[in-house]
Amino acid sequence: MADTPYSSTELLACVAARLLEDRKSVFVGTGLPMIAAMLAQRTHAPGLLIIFEAGGIGPQIPVLPISVGDSRTFHRAVAASSMHDVMSISQAGYLDYGFLGAAQIDPHGNINTTVIGEHDHPTVRLPGSGGANDVGSFCHRTVIIMRQDRRKFAAQLDFLTTPGHLDGPGARERAGLPANTGPHRVITQLGVYGFDDATMTMRLLAVHPGVTVEEVRANSSFPIPAAEPLAVSAAPTVEEQRILREIDPTGLLIKR
């Protein structure tokens, strides 16, 4: 356990990094996922293969890239290829983990990053799928990292951009999506969620240090059952914090 203070983002990065297994591959988007993947590689998962959608494969990332197309994403990479190549190998099953962000999530882990309000008369227009729909369709396990509140944890999405478990068990396969894929974990500033096998809806697996189940529920507009016993996320270790500062020396993301 850490005896030093840490930011909420540092905790999220550590929790996300620890989910990644060594000798697996991960499809990485902009921001926190990059930090999490880099942290995992520098701790328990040195054999983690990092892949970026613009074509960077297996880079030795010198400093935190700003964009997934940034030259840092193919710095001393094993290949600097193309989106077609990377998306194809993802579709063909080479990608184990994928990270996603979300503006809204529903109990089945479906995600909205397109629009708040009506599509053709938006209240807030968001960027759209980007590679999210692809990552959420192709990767064996997706991990969603987001801030949670009652609006973001929505019983009903304004727009279903990226498939989670759709409307329940078997729904992804019925829709034609690759088998045995879908959201694996959701990580927020309050805790970590998994999915109940019988209903494919979110359940609380762990709260972060100092967070209560009541707080979690107060920040969701749908009911969230809690696992028993409920785990508590381990705080960032001194070593993890040291590496995070190495990865993001200016605190661009970590200090947010």
Binding site: S67, D70, R125, S129, G131, F159, L160, T162, A175
Partner: protein
Amino acid sequence: MEILQEGHGELIGWHDPDENREWVRAHKPRDLVDKRMGIAEAVARFMHDGDFIASGGFGHVRVGMAAIYEIIRQGRRGLVMAGKTAVHDADLLIAAGCVDRIEVAYSFGHELRGLSPASRRMVEGGHCQVVAEISNAGYQWRFLAAAMGVPFIPARNLLGTDTLKYSSAKVVADPWSGKPLCLLPACYPDVAIIHVTRCDMYGNAQIDGTLIEDFELARAARRLILTTEEIIPEAQIRAEPWRTAIPFFLVDAVTEVPFGSHPCQMPLRYYFDEDHIREWMRRSVTAEGADAYFQEYVFDAPDFEAYLQKIGGSTRLSYLQQVEALRG
């Protein structure tokens, strides 16, 4: 083919493959002709009001910004844009009133830097219409279908989502597995702008770094304007022909524009100009601010050279080179 589901997004840029073959037959150059011209001439000749356009690169990486500024300078109107991780380029073109319709994979955002004040305002205010939704891979494969001259490419994304409902894709049962499959229609932009590391005067081009979507986009576009960091002798191309990502017969115009991606990154050459991107994002919070930005950097700059002086000239540019080389 029984259609199990059908998106109701507008079918942008699709042509019957035979119709496009006739277009290719009539318009694409088979022989080596010198295609060098200024960016003003390239945009004037090859991009017309109402065209469906696509811009190469990805996000703020390797974007033909000199061409984007020139489109604004020439006041093109009614353009439809491929929102294929279109970021700074789309934001400016929408804010300037050049683009009023867009098919979106990723737009209206500057990735980590935040949402785009200008283009969001235009979309939320009804001045720019999102005519279809798609994903990054989906757009990529629409270009692949066009590059291959086939009407569609099958894929296993979009399925089960509203993205599909608002797309131009269709769902059918795969005749082998019986499983539902998404068909992505071919997409042929009227004009694409691609910024490359180097090319010869005919348009044979090399790209250092990832190709992103540009291999396929170059082959999908009906007209292709190349902007390039430098023009090199043909012999240099022919010495390593496996480095050619774009061969000349796809290319209609070649424009040499050093730093032509600024304020976006040019891999291995210069870094993002974060200050300038932030300046745009700050000033474009209001329509008046955006207009003032355009006045200062586009209309009051007769050409890209003048723009580069305004953003800080060689001092600023060599700083960006240093940062990109990890010496910054």
